[in-house]
Amino acid sequence: MAFLDNSGDIILDAVLTDTGRARLARADGSFRIAKFALGDDEIDYGLYDKTAASSADYDLQIMQTPILEAFTNNSSLLKSRLLSVPRTNILFLPILKLNTKFARTKMNTSAVDPTSVSNMFIVAADLDTTDNVPTGIGTEIDGLMEGAQPDKEEQSHIRIDQGLDTDELAPRAPLDDDLRDETYVVEIDNRLGRIVGKNGESPRASFVDDDQIASYVISAPMVSNNGNRDLVGVDGSSQTIQGPRGTILEFRIASSVDLQGSDFLFTKLGKTAQTYVIGGQNVTGLGTIDTHVRVSGMNTGYRIDVPVQFVKKLS
């Protein structure tokens, strides 16, 4: 992945992605280009210098940014897309942020071995894994989702809040309608798990690409309005977005059949013979796979990666 020569005229370097080639090869009509998006992955807007003497110099460094040539892995490209909003007077844009303030939305920090599972959600691949300590890891640790029984109520889930995370605006006003994400795209490695709602919803993947990344397009009822107007920082506040709030996405992760029934993915993608330290006791013989779940707002394009560890008591 070299840099593009920028010494002369502006050139365009175009390639089909691996998924594009796969669809072309399938010859089933799925290769149909219907829309486009613009991206700015290489740009560091922190280099935009509003204090420069001349407005022509504001973006002097940005315009010198070297651009990498196109490569073909579809999931590695267009990580940040440009956004169309007709009005030009927007000063704040919403972000997505994990809300870990509830007992059931916390990530795991130190209940298990802090050297390997710090700040992650944990998905237990099968029922044996959640046996009582020290045979298994039990069910009473932060951030644990029981992948084999995701509809069980008493377990963690992932909550993502959308809104303007600034103390310059009070949360009393709701987020502007044109900046609200009512729909989200959630991507997960299809070999490892699938997305389910915390109330038993079971959305279907829109597609699974050639790298086995499944994309779920999720809206209500897994997406709800955030009507809470509490200030962040006050006692008992359960909010993570400081300013106007938009929507909330909540989901769990179910473990895949492969993960439940076999250990080979732990050997191939993860680690074996791992130990969790829970309540001072060692739980040994675990397999772990570190991955992440990517969440993007359909309207705003903002995205975050949620770190997840799949864990299984290996046979």
């Binding site: 920028n6 502006i10 050139i11 365009l12 370097d13 175009a14 390639v15 089909l16 594009g20 669809r23 799925s30 280009i33 219907a34 829309k35 998006a37 613009l38 991206g39 700015d40 992955d41 290489e42 740009i43 807007y45 922190g46 935009y48 509003k50 504001y58 973006d59 940005i62 940014t65 651009i67 196109a70 490569f71 579809n74 490209l77 267009l78 940040s80 897309r81 440009l82 956004l83 169309s84 909003v85 007709p86 030009t88 927007i90 000063l91 704040f92 919403p94 972000i95 995370d165 600034t166 310059e168 309608d177 044109d178 795209v185 690409d209 994309s215 397009v217 309207n299 705003t300 394009g301």
Partner: protein
């Protein structure tokens, strides 16, 4: 409503066809000499086969993974040729080669018999090329076809084995505008010497060049009345091409031909069918970004106050399917500034 995708309409796509040409020089030193291994008396870029029906020429010692196959060489003659004779070396194979090439390149007559190569391309009569050298170029070199009017090949046609002389160039003169279409293998034209004017009686042709098939057929008579060879590096020289074609192996004849090869030049043609997507960013589109560095505490870093114009920078264009799957991507060589005062039309071409 905010959006990051924009639909492409019927007026935003078009298709084009472009012919791309590359110049291919094949010097005599590649064909013989550069990769000669004196200790084993072999050309390491020439691959021979147990059946002995042709030899393959590579641009580098063929046992290396860096080597590219560039063409094959073989010879053949018709069963009706004066050279044909049961006592000849590899007589049947030489006839088989000729018939196979003729079957593919010239086709069959009304009685289902294989036609012979015709000197002027007119199958109704005239002189036939009964004894020929075949140069079968690899698709790596010819791509979709050899560019008409671009081909020339030069051989030494006389002299001694140490000092070959009298180079003669054969080329497809005039083929850019005039060529034949009565071959089952596509277009072809007649090779003439550079000094020859095509004669009305059709006797000035020295060979045939099949453009799409990538095959040059040279009559052996271009070496008539002169010694031929040598058959190996500074080895023996045949008394004549006739003696070579009848009294030696196919590979020996090929080697003799390679040692007389001075150079060969042509251009190939690749037909690019392209779809062009016009990605239009209007003045009020794509002025904001979802890049994490675009915000600091949710505030745009490119603005001081809300009245400031938003600005963003384009480095990538993604083309998506209906289901939002990224199927093609294009990069610009430097960031393009986008703000409400400008519009961009990015022309993305995908070649097939």
């Amino acid at each position: 409503m905010a959006a990051t995708f924009k639909a492409l309409g019927g007026n935003d796509t078009t298709t084009t066809r472009t012919l791309l040409h590359e110049a291919i020089p094949l010097t005599g030193t590649i064909v013989s000499g550069t990769y000669f291994l004196e200790s084993s008396d072999t050309q390491t870029n020439i691959k021979r086969y147990g059946h002995g029906m042709w030899e393959s020429v590579y641009d580098y010692p063929y046992l290396s993974s860096s080597a590219n196959h560039i063409f094959d060489l073989t010879i053949g003659y018709s069963a009706q040729s004066n050279l044909s004779g049961a006592a000849n070396m590899q007589n049947a194979k030489k006839i088989n080669i000729y018939n196979q090439m003729a079957q593919v390149l010239v086709g069959f007559d009304e009685n289902g018999l294989v036609r012979r190569f015709d000197q002027d391309g007119d199958h109704s009569g005239g002189n036939k090329i009964n004894e020929a050298f075949f140069i079968n170029y690899a698709r790596l070199l010819t791509k979709d076809e050899i560019k008409k009017g671009s081909y020339n090949i030069t051989f030494y046609t006389a002299g001694t084995k140490q000092v070959p002389t009298t180079p003669v160039t054969f080329a497809d003169h005039g083929a850019a505008t005039t060529y034949k279409t009565n071959s089952p293998a596509g277009d072809y034209s007649i090779l003439y010497t550079s000094s020859a004017t095509p004669r009305a009686d059709g006797t000035s042709g020295k060979g045939l060049l099949y453009y799409q098939a990538g095959v040059a057929v040279l009559t052996s008579s271009i070496f008539l009345n002169n010694p031929f060879g040598p058959d190996n590096q500074y080895d023996k020289q045949f008394s004549s091409v006739r003696a070579c074609m009848t009294g030696s192996l196919i590979t020996s004849s090929c080697e003799a031909l390679r040692n007389l090869w001075r150079d060969n030049n042509f251009s190939n043609t690749t037909e690019l069918n392209s779809t062009v997507y016009f990605c239009r960013a209007n003045h009020n589109e794509f002025n904001y970004s979802s890049n994490p560095t675009y915000l600091s505490s949710s505030k745009l870093v490119v603005k001081n106050v809300s009245d400031d114009a938003p600005v963003s920078y384009v480095t990538t264009i993604g083309l998506y399917a209906d289901d939002n799957e990224l199927v093609a991507v294009a990069k610009v060589s430097e960031p393009l500034k986008k703000d409400p005062t400008n519009e961009l039309t990015l022309r993305v071409r995908l070649d097939y």
